[in-house]
Symmetry: C2
Subunit: 437 residues, 2 copies
């Protein structure tokens, strides 16, 4: 059996199946590592190194003698030959196929925004974001004109979901705490961090009271939260937004040199290939609807997992595109395959929604622990502690857990962020004019 | 006063001067971080993350209120106006100037080798090397032809100095230990690691007995050491070498897909600009000769430090291009400037050669502790322990020290290397042919 994608869904399926001698597993991924995406925003904001949140797939699965890892990109699926073609023209045959290639960020039809407002799905995305944030402060430090300086010191996060909230919180912390003493011409605390959300509240999947709490906590960190505000244009010097208010809509121009995209996701392109090959209709975000056993309708040999799938809950609501759901689906897929092997019929997939948690800077955050009902709505320190524990627990690789804990402890004690490196080209501040110091 | 370059020499000068209110310091660097270059080979071989061995200059110097850090590349020097021009056309005026822009790797006139045999001076170099090493194993795993597979599994390090020896030792360890269980079609321990050195022994600056010991320790790790062997050509499929023997020379072709360059260094290009502007003759490697007080002849306001300088020892031998020498020169420069400020004449610079130490894989290495004379020639475990202590001691940033220690302890216990990520483009194995798995 073949698994495409070593994210949460694919990796947890592979780990579970790797213990069974009765199956042969081939895991195909474009990258040679599993990435712990929920902490990617910490790489983008200089708190962690890429190596802290990524672990080589071969290392994770080395003890599974029945498992082969292939570094390759799946590009075609032949449902008759049951064969996957890779971008280098290699092929892999399957009897059972798990497709878990996930999602990437998307710009709602504005692909030209990609170069202006980077998203956050890969390590390269995160180091690119980190470079832009740090170079903006460097440019501000050397900018004599106060208007242009203010543009460099305005950071805009588009999208008020968990990633956007956590990014904005980290940016607030950077300006107030981390960089406080680092510059001589600017006060980093003068930086303006904007969080722009089209809906009427941040964290729209949370209870309304927690959205309000998150907003207050963000504002406490100096973040300006603009809800009911939709980005309509982005250029090098700023963004244009449509602001809702009292049934009217007005247009506003916001000068800002750094725009970070945390708004939309879209299924990975291989999902479309699978859908076309197997005659499945995808939804607007390119996701594939699956049955109660996570297989594609009419194709019991193909399961779709994680962010690429639309699985339905008993309540009729879709399973959300979050890491715990992907982990549960991956584990379910492995158990389901083993059940079939033993001649059993697997139970339908049942998503256990344990809740949501988001961190907002230092010692604060929001959490919604579902099984506690209203008592599970937490804010501030408690939520922060819960976030910390959950993320360390799920972070794969024992050394990584300790390293991350130490970096966090160190950052916490010193208000510092050790890995604020500007890597890749260009390294120099994005200003090009004569200047005298 | 202005310091160009935030390496060991520039940073130690800045740190020392940062405590004095009587001076104003401007530190200019192309990067926003200080890089601990002696551990760069560990990033190239997946043992450490870039963030573990780099620390933002602003963070290191944040408490020095008299110090300004500029992210910029010095490109011109006007000795009359005493002005430095940056690549973005900004300028910085100096009264006293410390030039410490270091060296980069060089190909002895074969610049076309740069794309075939990457050197190891920057973080980008190190992640490039890491990518090539890991992709070679990935390609070998998917290669059916035994001849081509052997080419992918031959790793050649050019240059038997400390960097070459440490790289080759790490490559030996990777093949024997780290990747042992990671693949299904290849045995990583079948990999061939070649260390090619034109002179008749490795570590030529060490006592001959330690060179022999280093060779034995490398061979114990499975490294083939080829001394008296000079690289004359490099292409995508291998290298051509001229082999000395019994007064004759023969040519040999070695098929190898991965060539790592640890042979030559050359002064950074800004050094030439300084030399031309101030009428100084550089040596073949582009370095500038300095007086006993490390100033340029005829220019008491300009000091040249670190790998860019040729400073002479009392014995008439040049100070070597190593980190301890750069640190001593940086500290001396700061003290010298302060002495002048107080109307004193500084003592001439005196290099304290405490010795050399190189690590060769696990629990082994060579050390030459000068003040112990012949008793200071150490091999194996003792040398390894000394290397560990010295490197942790000088690594800047307290969190980094702990993180590096933990990664090392973890690697030591598990024989693993946690940060073997293939980042940057391309991520896929460099093979392009049909294949069936």
């Amino acid at each position: 059996m073949v698994i495409i994608g070593g994210g949460f869904a694919g990796l947890y399926a592979a780990r579970r199946l790797g213990k069974e001698r009765a199956v042969e597993v081939t895991l195909v991924d474009r990258r040679n590592y599993h990435l712990f995406q929920p902490l990617l925003y910490q790489v983008a904001t200089g708190a962690l190194s890429p190596g802290d949140i990524a672990q080589p797939l071969r290392a994770i699965l080395r003890r599974n003698g029945n498992t082969r890892v292939i570094l390759g990109e799946a590009v075609e699926l032949d449902p008759v030959a049951r064969r996957i073609t890779l971008s280098d023209e290699g092929t892999v045959d399957y009897d059972t196929l798990l497709v878990a290639t996930g999602a990437r960020h998307a710009y709602f039809g504005h692909d030209e925004w990609a170069v202006l407002a980077p998203g956050l799905k890969t390590i390269e995305d995160a180091t690119d974001m980190r470079r832009r944030i740090l170079l903006a402060y460097e440019a501000a430090e050397r900018e004599a004109d106060p208007v242009r300086r203010a543009e460099w010191m305005t950071f805009t996060v588009v999208g008020g979901g968990p990633t956007g909230v956590e990014l904005a919180g980290a940016l607030g912390e950077i300006s107030r705490d981390t960089l406080r003493r680092d510059f001589r011409s600017i006060l980093p605390s003068d930086a303006r961090v904007l969080l722009v959300e089209a809906l009427d509240r941040v964290l729209p999947t949370y209870p309304a009271s927690l959205s309000q709490s998150a907003r207050r906590q963000l504002e406490h960190l100096g973040v300006t939260v603009r809800t009911g505000t939709k980005v309509t244009a982005i250029d090098e010097g700023g963004i244009t937004v449509a602001v809702q208010g009292d049934g009217t809509e007005r247009t506003e121009r916001i000068p800002t040199r750094t725009v970070l995209w945390a708004a939309g996701v879209q299924a990975s392109s291989f999902g479309r290939k699978v859908a076309d090959a197997l005659g499945v209709q995808v939804d607007r975000a390119g996701r594939l609807p699956v049955g109660a056993d996570l297989t594609l309708p009419g194709h019991p040999e193909v399961m779709v997992l994680g962010d690429l799938a639309i699985a339905m809950r008993h309540s009729g609501k879709p399973v959300p595109g979050v890491a715990p759901a992907a982990i549960q689906e991956g584990t379910y897929a492995a158990k389901s395959i083993l059940a079939h092997l033993h001649g059993d019929t697997p139970e339908p997939f049942r998503y256990r929604d344990r809740g949501d948690v988001a961190v907002i800077g230092r010692l604060s955050g929001v959490a919604d622990i579902r099984w506690l009902g209203r008592f599970g709505h937490m804010s501030g320190f408690l939520a922060w502690g819960m976030w910390l524990g959950v993320h360390i627990l799920y972070l794969i690789g024992f050394a990584n857990r300790i390293v991350v804990l130490i970096r966090w402890a160190w950052s916490f004690l010193t208000h510092g962020r050790g890995t604020r490196l500007i890597t890749g080209e260009p390294h120099l501040p994005p200003i090009k004019r004569p200047e005298h110091l």
